[in-house]
Subunit: 500 residues, 2 copies
């Protein structure tokens, strides 16, 4: 894999001096064309061995290109904010929007490789990381991103020479750290590990581009040229043809032949008297308050997502949860149509954005499940998009839970008759009139489609670590108590487990 990056590639001074002005101009023009098209983001990963000139080439690229349409993010040790969230969180934050170039210096590859080289990660655990990475890059490619992964390579001999050379140069000695030399001692192990990782993560949609790092001119010119050609090729392809039709669908989802689903067999007649409701509510508020105020709570991030038909009582249930919390602890995120900023990113991006740190709670009033509910039904995305979304969402939630979060998902179910009663009541009540729009009436006509989509969603995304809780919401008392009870119960479970 690396043999041809140990040949001793080089470009002489004269050729370089002649090539650079032309390349700079072309690069800037390509950037503008990309910006103008706004069609896809360009994600450039810079990785490879120490001393291979990664930093210098990144600087050169920044010099050559228009800094307004490029953003370089270097990843070192995670910051406090980053350490409090799932590992992928900081990478999600760094993704460039459509039309821009993002240079990621250090990336999701660094930690797994280093941990493996130093023996902190087993072979099999490394392979799991590879699997996660592949799924993530597949998501980026499916979303249309142009992903370029540059690997800067040096032969063992070249790396030693390079480190010695920098060591000798007094002005630059600070750049070679002890850890660089330490890593050099592991060169062979590092080589084998990287070959393995690169082989398994070099895909048709996100191939690795191995660049020999010894000669700065060769390195810079190669990366610059590849970057330029890749942008231009993709732009030309997208211009030439109409938007790509979605891939052929796999299995169309079909409603159960006997029409029985998890939803329409719920017992909606369950209710609570006022007295029971108030007593229970008081008890649960106290319990919730106690849990959220405990020391152990600082170790867990809570994410609660509410979905349900219009007027099913999501807002009311959320308010009852919020009431038992300190205002500094929680945040309610009402999910509406995506903003332009969010539209320029993979659709999960805006949800990653709001993830709470540990000791905090984020309550989503509607959530990422919009993809497989409203977007599916209204045709805002293709069938392939929402079919794929089930596994993308499962991956996202697994990442969340692995990152120390407690995730509670509530589906609030009412009957169509109850919905009609609530719509009518809202129309009649002055201050609630704004809560009912034409869209609500339109959605109501699609009732069976929404119910089918919700049933599919629950089938495909209710997992051991992130189960759905179905809430009978015909009676508001019953619904609110069941929501709070579930939250308290699951929080107790996770806090006592952590305490052990």
């Amino acid at each position: 894999m690396f043999e041809s990056a140990e040949i001793g590639h080089r470009i002489d001074r004269q050729t370089y001096a002649k090539a650079v002005p032309k390349l700079r101009e072309s690069l800037i023009e390509a950037q503008w064309a990309l910006e103008e098209s706004g069609q896809f983001p360009v994600i450039v990963l810079i990785a490879g061995v120490d001393g291979a000139g990664k930093g210098e080439t990144v600087n050169t690229l920044n010099e050559w290109m228009d800094p307004r349409h490029i953003r370089t993010v270097a990843f070192d040790k995670p910051s406090f904010e980053e350490a409090q969230r799932p590992r992928m969180w900081r990478y999600w934050q760094a993704l460039p929007p459509r039309g821009k170039v993002g240079i990621l210096f250090g990336s999701w590859y660094t930690d797994p490789i280093i941990a493996r080289v130093y023996g902190r990660l087993k072979k099999s655990a490394l392979d799991l990381e590879i699997q996660r990475i592949n799924r993530f890059e597949q998501l980026l490619a499916d979303d249309g991103a142009l992903v370029l992964k540059f690997w800067f390579h040096l032969s063992k001999k070249a790396q030693r020479e390079r480190l010695e050379e920098i060591d000798r140069d007094k002005a630059r000695t600070w750049r070679v750290t002890r850890s660089d030399w330490q890593q050099f001692e592991h060169y062979d192990r590092y080589y084998r590990t990287c070959e393995h990782v690169l082989r398994l993560t070099s895909s048709g949609h996100a191939p690795w581009l191995v660049v020999e790092g010894r000669d700065a001119r060769y390195r810079n010119l190669t990366v610059g040229t590849l970057l330029h050609d890749a942008i231009r090729t993709r732009l030309a392809q997208q211009k030439k043809r109409k938007p790509r039709p979605p891939p052929p669908s796999a299995a169309p989802l079909v409603a159960p032949l006997d029409r029985i689903t998890m939803l329409n067999r719920m017992d909606l007649s369950q209710s609570l008297t006022d007295r029971k409701y108030e007593r229970e509510m008081e008890r649960l508020h106290g319990e919730m308050n106690r849990l959220a105020g405990s020391r152990a709570f600082e170790r867990v991030a809570v994410v609660a997502a509410f979905e349900g038909m219009d007027a099913a009582g999501k807002g009311g249930a959320i308010r009852r949860v919020a009431r038992s919390l300190d205002a500094r602890q929680y945040r309610v995120v009402p999910v509406a149509s995506p903003t332009d900023e969010a539209r320029a990113q993979p659709y999960l991006w805006r949800f990653w954005h709001h993830l709470p740190r540990r000791g905090r709670i984020t309550i989503y009033d509607r959530s990422w499940y919009g993809r497989v509910l409203v977007e599916r039904i209204e045709g805002y995305c293709s069938e392939a998009d929402w079919m794929r979304a089930y596994s993308e969402i499962n991956d996202f939630e697994e990442e969340l839970v692995a990152g120390g979060a407690l995730l509670c998902k509530f589906w609030l179910q009412i009957s169509p008759e109850e919905q009609l009663r609530r719509f009518e009541a809202r129309k009649a009540t002055g201050f609630k009139r704004f809560k009912i729009t034409n869209e609500d009436w339109r959605n109501r006509k699609q009732w069976p489609l929404y119910q089918q989509a919700a049933a599919d969603m629950i089938d495909r995304t209710s997992t051991g670590h992130a189960p759905w809780t179905l809430i009978e919401a015909e009676d508001k008392h019953w619904a609110r108590i069941k929501v709070l009870k579930t939250l308290v119960q699951r929080l107790q479970d996770v806090l006592s487990r952590d305490g052990r």
Copy 2:
């Protein structure tokens, strides 16, 4: 994931009797339309818990459909022929060609799940299997297959009842084996494992379809309907639109800026005198003969692949290898254009087909690398196809080596001048005249393209377990000796390692 398959779905006798004749007719018509289009294969996986009626539903499907266009393969313990080859070999053999339906009863999922439930496989090892499966199914989907994965589920209670019921029925008792009851004891562990596996292998292009298995009528009708709808939907999509354009390309492969590659820096002046050649050849023949005749050799399958420019001497080198072997041990596979049969399958299929069992040698005169050489250059496949092929080939070779094979890949390199000399010589020599065709002259004009494609190929597919050996072939003596020497050396290594 399984909740909605524990509801107690059922179809009454009357509804069933009315639905079946219509469904049968539609299914047969869909089969004919599929056969006529010849556009894609339909791969149906049947999996799930014991007692959920998998076998009965498979029988029903076979009854309902046209047996000429359907092929059911059941996988039990591997046969002798199968056990001698990589694990995926038997599944490759069972793939239906385009235009046909293949029902795979038991599949690549069975062994990993069972091994995990009985604790023979660690969690991390299971996850690796999942990764392999996903890569394989991605290959099938990329090749256009419609993949339908049915999972037959029973709740714990339903499974116990079902096993007891069959137990009571004297005529059928033989169908419940002790191992069925043994598996039932592991129900909870099995449930958790399957949920995990299904979640991570349910993708947009190959989703799982979970079917409740308790009621035979519900089960049959559901599977039949889904199968029919999926075929019809796909056929309609492919009719409506023109062939799908290839996905946007990732990074265009660019020749090294300084034009130096692994190939053009080879020292082609190396040669051997007649005397040295004959002495070496005799020694190597003896050694090869001894190794291939040893007892240890029965444990390894040898695959040798030869690639190189026209007239580089592949045939001559292959003959020298063959000469040292017993004719019953080896087989030379000359790779020409694919037959119609091969064209109806994923392009790697025909190479899987010929894999040697242990103790045997298959020599490929040209190989699966045609995809990234001639097919790339002549445009026989899209850029996306051959870009993807690098990782598909790496996966294939890893599977091969993991299955106990020794894989040697030779690239024979000559200069364009030497090629011309050999062409002219062939034209002049009567019996060799047939060896030179117009196509050879045409290919010669594409020399730089072939060289670049070969350099890319070596960069992207030379791995630790399957390295390329570059052979300086300007001097035939040198080339033949280096080939044999490499084979002998690698065979010695692998046999002595196995002996340990």
